[in-house]
């Protein structure tokens, strides 16, 4: 389905995740973050860069992977993206929701 994000029509699934990463840019990310009452800082962008890198390499995301990332620790991850950090951060980053239970 189509959703108006940052004055543009973007394809999203029923949970609001982008269907096509090519439609993502920083404006879209900011707008999605606003919807979750998150104002993106440099630290957020560093995490988003990390998520994009994992996505490009097709490496699955997990909370353990965050711990080992060297970019951020789990405590800060939870404080930057409250309410389910992997779910929220991947949505903002425009990549699919992780399928893992861990």
């Amino acid at each position: 389905m189509k959703k108006l994000i940052a004055q543009r029509e973007i394809d999203v699934n029923e949970e609001g995740y982008l269907m096509d990463f090519n439609q993502w840019d920083k404006e879209i990310g900011k707008s999605l973050a606003d919807e979750h009452d998150i104002s993106l800082t440099d630290r957020h962008w560093e995490v988003i860069d990390f998520l994009h890198e994992k996505y490009r390499k097709e490496e699955p995301l997990s909370i353990r992977g965050i711990k080992k990332s060297g970019v951020i620790d789990i405590k800060e991850f939870y404080s930057l993206f409250p309410g389910g950090p992997l779910k929220v951060s991947t949505l903002i980053a425009g990549i699919p929701k992780p399928k893992s239970c861990i």
């Binding site: 609001g16 909370i63 353990r64 939870y78 409250p82 389910g84 779910k87 949505l91 861990i102």
Partner: protein, 158 residues
């Protein structure tokens, strides 16, 4: 993000086998990942999972466990339980499941509260020093019930 009515999950881990410990850990971690609060109360044999010296040596039960598909007499032979545990841990590692100690760190960092049961700790003559540093405290079951302080709290016995 989701519309779940579950807001807080309280787990009581009473068993010391690896599959039960992981059941509690995966569910408690899964809750936090969904933005749901979670806490674990370790009691009786569940205390094995938070004892520094024992937590990396939890095993899968090969006796009295029909799902392991092994004759009971075979399961009881020396080394069989250790072998089955080794095989299971290998499979878990493939799925990027952390070992027990690391899983407890992840849970603690994720905001999952970890509690020791006072009665069982006294019964097994354990000291605070025997238990993991991440432990949030030693409490009674009454204290634990008091943690169910909001609508949408659920309590699960494992």
């Amino acid at each position: 993000m989701s519309d779940t009515k579950v807001k807080k999950m309280l787990f009581i881990l009473s068993k010391g086998t690896i599959e039960n410990a992981y059941a509690a850990f995966v569910m408690a971690n899964g809750a936090r990942m969904e933005g749901i609060e979670s806490e674990i109360f370790f009691t009786f044999f569940g205390l094995e999972a938070i004892q520094k010296k024992k937590l990396e040596h939890l095993r899968v039960a090969t006796v009295g466990n029909p799902a392991i598909h092994m004759p009971t007499m075979l399961g009881g032979l020396p080394g069989v339980e250790a072998l089955a545990t080794k095989m299971m841990k290998k499979e878990m590692e493939k799925l990027d499941m952390p070992p027990v100690g690391e899983f407890l760190e992840i849970l603690s960092d994720s905001g999952c509260k970890l509690w020791g049961c006072k009665l069982a700790i006294d019964m097994f003559h354990l000291e605070k020093e025997d238990l993991i540093d991440e432990l949030d405290g030693i409490i009674t079951i009454g204290d634990f019930y008091a943690r169910a302080d909001q609508e949408g709290t659920h309590l699960l016995f494992i």
